[in-house]
Amino acid sequence: MLAAFVGFEIIRRVSPLLHTPLMSLTNALDAIAVVGAIILVGEAKSGLTTALGTIAIVAATSNLVGGFMITDRMLKMFKASSKPKKP
């Protein structure tokens, strides 16, 4: 709940300029669900959980890798006009 509140406050301040990267970054962070899938697969309790869990790991990891990559690529493109930006 606290996280939702803090998140709310922070995200409200993100400028519309960066809404697309915001979405792709939160998506990448969402891929932390991979943690649950890893434990599920690792505990190897049944064939079903291993199968479903492995697919889950594939899905989440592809989000994780792709999400961070594309967010960074997008952000690299945002440049201020001629004046050098502050460090």
Partner: protein
Amino acid sequence: MTTPLVTEQAIEIIYLISATLFILSLKWLSAPATARRGVFAGEIGMILAIGATLLYRGIVDYKWIVIGLVLGTIIGIPLGRVQMTAVPQRTALSHAFGALCVALVGTSEYYLRAPHVPKFMMSVLSMEVILGSLTFTGSLMAAGKLQEILPQRPITYKGQNLVNVSVLAISVAVAVYLVLHPGETRLFPLLIAIPLLFGVLMIIPIGGADMPTVISLLNSYAGLSAAAMGFVIDSKLLIVAGALDGSSGFILSVVMSKAMNRSFTNVLFGAFGQVQASAAAAQEARPVHTATAEEAAAILGAANAVVIVPGYGMAVAQAQHKVRELYDALTKRGVDVKFAIHPVAGRMPGHMNVLLAEADIPYDKLLDMDAINADFPQTDVALVIGANDVTNPAARNDPKSPIYGMPILDVDKARTVMVIKRGMSPGFAGIDNELYYLDKTLMLFGDARAFVGDIVRQLTGEGHG
């Protein structure tokens, strides 16, 4: 016995650090100057969390974990390298993957625990599986529509809302029954199948112009289902990440709905489809003023202040680099050039900003609706490239128009308006645009990229004498 305990504590601490890094990551994202640091923080948090999880002592078999991680990376890399114009469908696809992961884990958890699932656990688990499943098919449908594999036009039929609501109600009923009788494993597949169907039904009636709202909404669902999964497997880290994703999706949906003057329910249940036929048929062959690239270049070259209004048409024609050349040519002549970005321009929140940034246009020249509208009366030329409904004055003055009340860019207040457009076809909302018939409006018919290219050639050609 002490060693595993220590590891356990260490894992918890690392999770806490990761959660903090995630929040910092979003905080840094709020300004372009620190945004990349934000991505970096997110990556560190992620690596720490995954590393810590691999130390978890309950893990007995690593084989499938490694296979999963490697395969996921192989699929993820091309997804991180798509064209900027394809970002909306990529995002929809990643919502689908995220939701798939959550739904699958939820399903596994249920079968591991059944029939002894406490009521609270079963409620969250149902929510996780329902949201995960409907987001999965819903996002796949959205991605299909964006990629134009599926028809973009809204598909509506009589009693559609009734059907949708009933389907959703049935899945909730199944969930309630399972909460009361968690041992009924035969019913569980319904909890997956019905929301899968609902996801499809939900997206069918939605048209291209509503995509920004829908993507945000699906974003929110994906986050909420992940947060629910966090409760199920008792992972605070996942609750935090899910809550962040859920609230960001929610905020974006609200912003998008506001920008279209419609409520959530309106977007979901009241497709523009119904009004289309009548509005498009009413007006035929009204006179418009047209101009050639040469004339347009002359007017632009003589202007002091120009505002460019990009829309989805610019993305489709891949015209952003030509627009950049136009920006350069005009700036060199001392013309003040700005860009006006409507919140729902394009197919996802912030879509136009990313495209223009890709073309190296400085972000401080990209202004959102509230910042730019006051400037239009002092603007010599408003150049509309592939945008339509967001510039339609009917939203301000025609109470009968379906888009009445939607905040628009006041391009009609500029001294001259130029509209680059393929033809007179109405926009995605299917509504005729009054703007095109004004005396001060010049229609420039043609492909956006080719036409802007022609204007640039005229401008630079003149410069050489």
